[in-house]
C-alpha cells in the first residue's frame, strides 16, 4: 500500500514537473528570436489573481500587438520559481527585452545578473524589487501608491465641509499598496481637523470591507468619511452603510483607490464620492519605454504610470470607456 502511494506521488510530481517545464518553453519553441528587425519581448506576469491583473495583462498584450512587438507571455501563477524559470527561458531564446512584475521583492539578483550578462535589458512593471544593485534593471514602471493616498487626502481636505471623523479600510496587512496608501493619506490630512478614528484591514475584499464597516458603524459613534484602500472594500462598505439605514455618499462620504468598473459605476451613481485611479493599463507606456531602451536612449530609473482621479461627474463620462 505504502509503495503504491509513493509510486503515485512520484508519478504526480513528475507529471507536474513536465507540465511546468513545457509551460515555460512552450511559448518559446515556435518562433524563437529571428533577426528580422522586429522587437521580441518576454513578459513574465504574476498570475491572474484579480480583475485588475487581468486588465493589466490584456493591456500589455494589446499594446504589444499595436506596437508591432512580438510578445512572449508567461503566467507565473503567483510563484517566484515559475517566474525565474520563464525569465531563464527568455534569456535562452535571446529575446530583445524582458519585462516582468515581480511576485515578491527579493531573490532576483542571480537571474537578473544572467540577463545582464546576456545583454538583455530588463524593465520592472507594477511592483519593485529589493536589491542593492540597481544596474540589474533599466527602469521601474508602476504606480506611486503614496501619491495615490495623498491625492485621496488632498481631495478630502478641500471637500471635507464639516466632516471630521474618518474610518479607514486598509488593504492586506503588510502589502506595499496598503502601507503606502495609508502613509500618503495620513500625510495629506495632517494638521487639519480630519482624523482617522478607526482603522482595520478588510483584506482588499468586498466581504472584508463590509464586515469591518458593519462593526465600525456600531462601535464608532460618529463616522463622516470612509477611506478604503481599494474599490472592492468601498463597495462592501456601501452595503453595510445601506443596511444601517444611512445613505452612502451623502451621510457618509466614501473615497477609494483603483477605479475598476464596479467602483466607477458606484461613483457615477453618487454612492462613492471620489476615486483615485490606480491604472493597470500600462501596456502603451511599457512598449514606448522598451523601444527607447533598445534604441539606446536614456530612460529615468523610475516611471510613474499615468493616473488620474475621478469625481462623480467625471465618472459618468468615463464609465462607458472602462474596460475592466
Amino acid at each position: 500500500m505504502l509503495k503504491k502511494i509513493t509510486t503515485a506521488a512520484v508519478a504526480v510530481m513528475l507529471a507536474a514537473l513536465t507540465a511546468c517545464g513545457s509551460g515555460g518553453s512552450g511559448d518559446a519553441g515556435s518562433s524563437g528570436a529571428k533577426d528580422d528587425g522586429k522587437i521580441t519581448m518576454g513578459f513574465a506576469q504574476v498570475g491572474a489573481e484579480s480583475g485588475w491583473r487581468t486588465a493589466n495583462t490584456k493591456s500589455i498584450q494589446e499594446e504589444a500587438a499595436a506596437a508591432g512587438i512580438d510578445l512572449k507571455f508567461s503566467d507565473a501563477q503567483q510563484k517566484q520559481e515559475n517566474q525565474i524559470k520563464a525569465i531563464r527561458s527568455y534569456i535562452q531564446q535571446k529575446v530583445d527585452i524582458i519585462a516582468f512584475s515581480p511576485v515578491v521583492e527579493t531573490g532576483w539578483d542571480t537571474v537578473l545578473l544572467e540577463a545582464k550578462r546576456a545583454n538583455i535589458p530588463v524593465i520592472l512593471t507594477d511592483r519593485a524589487i529589493d536589491s542593492d544593485d540597481t544596474t540589474l534593471y533599466k527602469t521601474f514602471l508602476g504606480s506611486d501608491f503614496v501619491l495615490e493616498g495623498k491625492k485621496a487626502g488632498e481631495w478630502l481636505k478641500e471637500n471635507a465641509g464639516t466632516a471630521k471623523n474618518v474610518v479607514e479600510l486598509q488593504g492586506t496587512t503588510g502589502a506595499a499598496p496598503a502601507i503606502d496608501r495609508k502613509k500618503g493619506f495620513e500625510e495629506a490630512i495632517a494638521g487639519t481637523d480630519l482624523k482617522i478614528v478607526a482603522t482595520q484591514t478588510g483584506d482588499f475584499t468586498r466581504s472584508g470591507g463590509k464586515q469591518v464597516m458593519e462593526a465600525f458603524l456600531k462601535s464608532v459613534p460618529q463616522i463622516d468619511v470612509v477611506y478604503a484602500h481599494n474599490d472592492d472594500m468601498g463597495l462592501g462598505a456601501i452595503e453595510a452603510i445601506k443596511a444601517a439605514g444611512k445613505v452612502p455618499g451623502k451621510d457618509i462620504k466614501i473615497i477609494t483607490v483603483d477605479a475598476v468598473k464596479d467602483g466607477m459605476t458606484a461613483l457615477a451613481a453618487g454612492e462613492i464620492n471620489y476615486i483615485v485611479e490606480c491604472n493597470p493599463l500600462l501596456g502603451k507606456q511599457l512598449m514606448d519605454l522598451s523601444k527607447k531602451v533598445l534604441a539606446g536612449e536614456e530612460v529615468p530609473p523610475r516611471v510613474v504610470t499615468e493616473e488620474s482621479a475621478f469625481t462623480s461627474e467625471q465618472a459618468k463620462t468615463e464609465l462607458p470607456n472602462r474596460k475592466y
Binding site: T54, Q200, Q211, S219, G245
Partner: protein, 326 residues
Amino acid sequence: MSSPAVLRNRLLWPVLALVALLVLNVVVTPSFFSLRLQDGHLFGSLIDILRNGAPTLLIALGMTLVIATRGIDLSVGAVAAIAGAVTCTYIASGGDAWVGMGLALALCAVLGLWNGFLVSVLGIQPIIATLVLMTAGRGIAMLITEGQIVTVDSPTYREVGAGFLVLPIAILISLAVLGLVALVTRKTALGMLIESVGVNPSASRLAGVKARTIIWTVYVFAALCAAVAGLMISSNVSAADANNAGLWIEMDAILAVVIGGTSLAGGRYSLTGTLLGALIIQTLTTTVYTIGIAPEITLVFKAVVVIAVCLMQAPIRIRVRQGVPA
C-alpha cells in the same frame, strides 16, 4: 466518569470563552448589546455576529459529520467559491436566481460525490483526497468567472446572504440545517452509525454497518453545506470573488468543530459544541473590529484566544479536574 459529565465539561469552556468575549465587548463598547429595529429588521452587533457567522456554522456542521467518520474535508472553501461563481455567472448572463442556485447546488453535490468516491471507494486518505479539490476547485471557480469579480443585481439572490425575516435569513438557514441534522442523527440510529464508522471502520463494517455509503453521504452533505455557505458569502456582497470567497474558511470550520469538543480522531461529535465554536470564531473577529485591535497584531490576538480555549479543554486538564491521575 459518566458521559454527561464529560459533555458538560467539554462545553463549559467554550461557553465561558464566548461569554468572556461578549463581556470584553460590552466593557469597551457599552452599546454592544443594543438592538433596534431598522427598516423592519433587527440591527446590532449581535445580529452581525449571527449573520456573518452563518456560513462558518453551516460549513462546520458538514465538517462535524465528516470528522466524526475520522475524515476531514479541506475542499469546502473552494466548493463555496464555486457555488458563488456558478450562481453569479448564471444570473449575470440573464438567468433566474433560483435556477442559478439550483445549478450551483447540483454541481457541488457532484463535487461532494467526487470527494466521497476518492475517500470511500479508492480509500485515499481524506486529507489528501480533499486537498485535490481544495487547490483545483479555486481554479475551477476562476475559470467560471474568467478571473473577474462578477457583480450581480438580483433582489432574490441578495436575500440569501443579506436578507432579513426580522432575523438574518442566513442564520435562519444555518439553524434550520442544525436542527435538521440534530433530528436526523440523534433521533435515529444514523448518528450512532456515523460515530461507529469513526471509532472503528473495520469493526463497524463487520458488524453490518454500510460504512462506505455513510462516508460517501457525509462528504456529499459537507459539499452541499459548503455550497449554501458559498451562496450566502457571495449573496452578502452581491458578487462572486473566485479568489477570496471562502478563503481559509475550511480552517475556521475545523477550528469550530475542535473548539466544540469533537475529536479529530473521529467518533463522538457534538453539534451544540460546533454551534458554540462557530459563534466564538465570529465573535472573535467582530471583537477585533469593535475594540479596535491593530491589524498587525490581530492574528496574535486570535491565536492567544484560541490557544487559551484549547488548553482549557485539553484532556489532561479534564482528567485533573475530575481527580483521575493523568
